[in-house]
């Protein structure tokens, strides 16, 4: 290759499913809006050739339920791109079963506050690239930022940075930094938060929470230093009068408005 090729970064739709297997949007991990059938959404994203998908069951852990394998299999069968899954993973067996469904990476979050570590044995067996740690983070009054697990209800003792370093040391190959405060608010990514963690770990970091336009993707990566961006509400537009619209920027737009702006040399 003569010149440095285009730097492509991943732009990842995040799908949240609830206990009944419906697709929902949330605001600050709270108020939910029902969107529709996740399989339909995945079919659309697949047709639009999105880079990758993140699928999160936001009720599995609080319900004390394992992953909904039947639904996950149906979803993965519609996806010719990688799908990462998180929600209700508390045991090695869940991880193995998820890979058998065709899931590319398991996303571990609530289990990070448990005694038994799932990351290290899974990373040894399946490789770091198949294990993602998701850190949902909220600014707590007077206590700084906290990693809030179990659907944003249970604070982890460690600071977000310490926990991030911890999971990487155990073998996680990727970290999702999910801003609870920005979730569903269309107020932009929390660049300071992203930078704080991206600067101190050497695995890819994915920013999530707050995206409102394509330019936000550029800011997160260029100024926050993350390697990829995820977004939920941004790709799923919902209006009372016009229903639900699932969208993804065309490939040419991403090249001109994102990739070319992120060239390293």
């Amino acid at each position: 290759m003569s010149a440095v090729p285009l730097r492509r970064v991943r732009i990842i739709p995040t799908l949240l499913i609830d206990r009944t297997g419906r697709l929902v949007k949330t605001v600050k991990f709270g108020k939910r809006t029902y969107i529709g059938d996740p399989i339909n959404a995945v079919k659309i994203f697949n047709r639009k050739e999105v880079d990758e998908l993140v699928l999160l069951d936001i009720d599995a852990t609080t319900d004390g339920r394992p992953p909904n394998y039947a639904l996950i299999e149906d979803i993965v069968s519609e996806a010719f791109m990688p799908v990462g899954y998180g929600g209700g993973i508390t045991h090695d067996d869940h991880i193995e079963a998820l890979y058998k469904c065709g899931i590319e990476k398991v996303i571990l979050s609530s289990c990070l506050s448990e005694e038994v570590d799932l990351i290290e044995p899974a990373a040894k067996r399946y490789g770091a690239q198949a294990i993602v740690a998701c850190l949902p983070i909220k600014k707590a009054f007077a206590r700084g930022q906290k990693v809030m697990l179990r659907s944003g209800t249970k604070a982890h003792k460690k600071t977000p940075l310490a926990l991030a370093q911890d999971v990487v040391a155990k073998g996680a190959g990727e970290i999702i930094v999910y801003s609870i405060d920005r979730d569903g608010t269309y107020s932009g990514y929390d660049i300071d938060l992203i930078k704080q963690i991206s600067d101190e770990v050497d695995v890819p970091v994915v920013a999530c929470g707050g995206a409102r336009n394509i330019e936000d993707f550029v800011t997160a990566i260029r100024d926050g230093g993350c390697s990829a961006v995820a977004a939920g509400s941004f790709f799923v537009y919902h209006s009372k009068t016009r229903g639900v619209l699932i969208s993804y920027p065309p490939a040419a737009d991403l090249v001109d408005r994102v990739f070319k702006k992120l060239a390293l040399t």
Binding site: R8, M81, P82, K124, Y126, G127, E174
Partner: protein, 207 residues
Amino acid sequence: MITIIDYDAGNIKSIVNMLRALGVKSQISGVAEDIVNADKLILPGVGHYDHGMRKLAEHGLINAIKEAAQVKKTPLLGICLGAQLLLRGSEEGNQSGLNLIDGDTVAFDRSRMDGKLRVPHMGWADTEKLSDHALSDAFPNDARFYYVHSFHMKTDSPETAVLSAYHGYAFTAGIAKGNILGYQFHPEKSHKYGMGVLKAFSEWVPQ
């Protein structure tokens, strides 16, 4: 019919899904006899090199794969870890590989990479041809695929390095020697580009 080798170290479901969507018949097997008698073989693979080789040994498949590839000249496509296993070995571990193509698997050299880039390499990368090989037509100018790896292939001879991609520097993305092919990316996770590759593999008749 394509036989996908099942040795408990690969994401087989997605490969089956894509082949099915292409209308290509496939079967999954971890039995040595099936491997030796296969028309075509896909060797998938995800995870640690040593784990992969140990699993192949445990399932008694190493000789079967070598016989199919070297004696019967069965078309064989290694994917991701499956491609790396075709070589001598990997810096990732201690196990010897299948040694079907001369070369090694090496870690990404961070000293050659911009500090902003991370390992594992995860994401879509444009992939170009270094030279022609059996499935060259499946790689148009805009070909791009999904990669997820911390190690990359390095062949002894430039002749067997047929594809290149870039992550901090240009690395070998595809290797080929006669009926034996190895691609670092995941065709089964690469939309229409991957479909083109799997379709070409299914239609390929080596001379």
